[in-house]
């Protein structure tokens, strides 16, 4: 059974494209960003609309490969391809772009992209235990503030930022409430639908409407579970997804899992709850608070990435997970290498097996993925 409210989320990204144009026509500023490390509250506090630019489709990759090496993460290639081919309205209508020094592929791609849009690249330290990490982050947040103020001709006040932080915290809490419904068994919402809701968050222009719809969805799902209806079967194995971000258009691994009868409970990735679990402090100075929250994103670009191990430990227990599927994009070295340690960690501490699926955005390996997924579900 599928909630009727999902119809709204089905059209979220397409209608977002139209709204991007309308927003520009109304003179609103649009700021594109790529990564969960991006302090989007700052964009909103600058009176601009934040839009996600991470692309997860195969289509523009050929265009990107005219410039970028073939042996590169498809997310980087797809994002670049969409940007330079002019086929992504979100990139097209963005006034400026907020980027960050995470993985090497992205860093170097941004250098090329800087020719197409004005952009600011936040310097994100790679070591998660850098001594003056907080001070460094605070500086980066202020750099972004100055850049926005200058280029968008606005002022970002402490009050406005504090207010946006509160709103975004509410949104995060609400989304976590939605995700938490899947602690139930059978799960009320499928993994691919959950992805649609969460991924859609970064492509919409009416945040109030979006949150109202999320509330509606939660209510509808609760009603459905009360009637004993769910998105999976009582016999379904409970699967947690981790690894590289998986966006809509590229959810093939998740589709294969669900078609094979697995229940995707939630995603611990950027496209899932990585950025939602921690709130921004409402007590601290808002700039310091932003710095604190975003410095703690458990991404594999940080070393050591102990946060991801802790988060996974918590999630497999809270959500009663049977098995973990780690989706690694080809040529993503950090997630690919970390997969080994995650597998050992889960086995040793929780006796939960991990299946790593290395893939890209093409559809060519669907059968191979299916074989692995079938075998994995059978062994759980």
């Amino acid at each position: 059974m599928r909630a009727q409210t999902m119809a709204y989320f089905d059209q979220l990204i397409p209608s977002g494209m139209v709204m991007a144009k309308e927003a520009k026509e109304q003179g609103r500023n649009v700021v594109g960003y790529y990564c969960v490390f991006s302090p989007i509250e700052l964009i909103e506090a600058a009176g601009a609309v934040p839009v996600g630019l991470c692309a997860t489709k195969q289509e523009p990759i050929a265009e990107a490969e005219k410039v970028l090496p073939r042996n590169l993460c498809p997310l980087v290639k797809s994002s670049y391809g969409f940007a330079v081919s002019g086929k992504c309205p979100f990139f097209h209508f963005a006034d400026i772009v907020l980027a960050e020094t995470t993985c090497d592929g992205k860093k170097k791609m941004y250098e090329l992209l800087a020719e197409h849009k004005p952009m600011i690249v936040l310097d994100i330290p790679n070591s998660s235990n850098l001594e003056d990490r907080q001070a460094h982050w605070v500086k980066q947040i202020y750099r972004a503030k100055d850049y926005f103020e200058k280029n968008l001709d606005v002022k970002i006040s402490n009050e406005k930022l504090a207010e946006v932080i509160r709103t975004y915290n509410e949104e995060r809490k609400l989304l976590m409430e939605l995700v938490s419904l899947n602690k139930l068994h059978p799960t009320p919402i499928s993994g691919t639908d959950l992805l649609k809701v969460l991924w859609g968050r970064s492509f919409q222009f009416k945040r109030d409407e979006y949150t109202a719809k999320v509330k509606e969805l939660i209510a509808e799902l609760k009603e459905m579970t009360a009637k004993g209806e769910g998105a999976s079967q009582p016999s379904s194995k409970r699967i947690l997804i981790t690894g590289c971000p998986t966006g809509t258009g590229q959810e093939k691994v998740m589709q294969v899992i669900e078609e094979a009868g697995g229940a995707i409970v939630l995603q611990e990735s950027c496209s899932g709850i990585k950025g939602l679990v921690d709130l921004v402090s409402e007590e601290m100075d808002p700039f310091e608070a932003l710095a604190e929250k975003y410095s703690k994103i458990p991404c594999s670009c940080s070393s050591p990435n102990t946060g991801r191990f802790k988060l996974l430990s918590r999630l497999v227990q809270e959500y009663n997970v049977d098995g973990v599927v780690d989706i690694t994009l080809q040529a993503c070295h950090t997630y690919n290498i970390e997969s080994y340690s995650i597998k050992e960690h889960l086995k040793k501490n929780h006796n939960i097996p991990l299946l790593q699926i290395e893939t890209d955005y093409s559809d060519a390996d669907r059968q191979q993925i299916k074989l692995r997924v079938d075998a994995f579900l059978e062994m759980l």
């Binding site: 097996p353 390996d365 191979q368 074989l371 692995r372 079938d374 075998a375 059978e378 062994m379």
Partner: protein
């Protein structure tokens, strides 16, 4: 009496096993262009001599890449699960298996009752598969079945290319340098053994490991592999049909 049949539709051959608490018979035919036709045909060839019909079979279980044939099977399992179950039946002392197939290679570790605990598959390229042997044997004008005898006492040449395409040019280079065909063949087998042992390293094997697939008949490769992995390798009877057998057993146990 309860009968079950397991059919393993692979890319090269289709295998079927009849089971009634014990393996009664098995049949192997080429898959050809139509997996569903091959499935029907092998079933017929299996049942006829026994005087059985489809109605006598309480469960028809499919595995292999052709298991997705709509409507043919009562139940399907992945070949990973089936291989493990089949091997466990034939060699209860084994803790895992290595299967070098035509298109892919599998390394599977299993526990009690042959339940899969971990597996590694290689099927993105020909490295470490039967296909690699086939292509390289062709370059030398040989049949895969000749390789073992040729390599028996030879000193293995160093072959570094894991890719079938590049290995071909490497072989031509070696021949030009005057390296013997025997050494090259031994080198090829060694490179496969190395490749598979890397996969096997990810599964923590302790004792006996079963060696399956058509290539398991190659004695030299078997010895090289067991050296590289540091485990005893045992070849089960009829190593090509363990997947079909496993499917039949899983069906029987349902």
């Amino acid at each position: 009496m309860k009968w079950t049949v397991g059919i393993d539709i692979g890319s090269v051959s289709t295998k079927a096993v009849l089971f009634n608490g014990e393996q009664v018979d098995s049949k192997i035919i080429p898959t050809g262009w139509s997996p569903s036709q091959a499935g029907q045909e092998v079933l017929e060839r299996l049942l006829k001599p026994q005087g059985l019909t489809r109605d006598d079979i309480s469960l028809l279980v499919g595995t292999g890449y052709g298991r997705i044939q709509q409507g043919m099977f009562d139940k399907t399992f992945s070949e990973i699960t089936c291989h493990a179950r089949g091997v466990h039946y034939l060699l209860p002392e084994a803790c895992g298996l290595i299967d070098i197939g035509g298109q892919d290679s599998k390394v599977i570790g299993f526990g009690e009752k042959g339940k899969v605990e971990d597996f590694v598959l290689n099927d993105k390229c020909a490295a470490g598969t039967g296909r690699f042997l086939q292509v390289t044997a062709q370059t030398l004008g040989l049949e895969v079945s000749q390789l073992s005898a040729l390599a028996e006492d030879a000193d293995p040449a160093d072959i570094n290319s894991m890719c079938a395409v590049f290995a071909e040019s490497e072989i031509i280079g070696l021949l030009a340098q005057g390296i013997t065909v025997e050494s090259i063949v031994a080198g090829l087998l060694k490179s496969i053994a190395k490749r598979i042992s890397v996969m096997a390293g990810k599964i923590h094997f302790q004792d006996t490991v079963a060696f399956c697939g058509g290539v398991a008949q190659n004695q030299v490769l078997k010895d090289l592999l067991s050296q590289e992995i540091g485990c005893r390798l045992a070849v089960p009877p009829c190593p090509q049909a363990v997947g079909a057998l496993g499917a039949a057993i899983l069906g029987y146990e349902l």
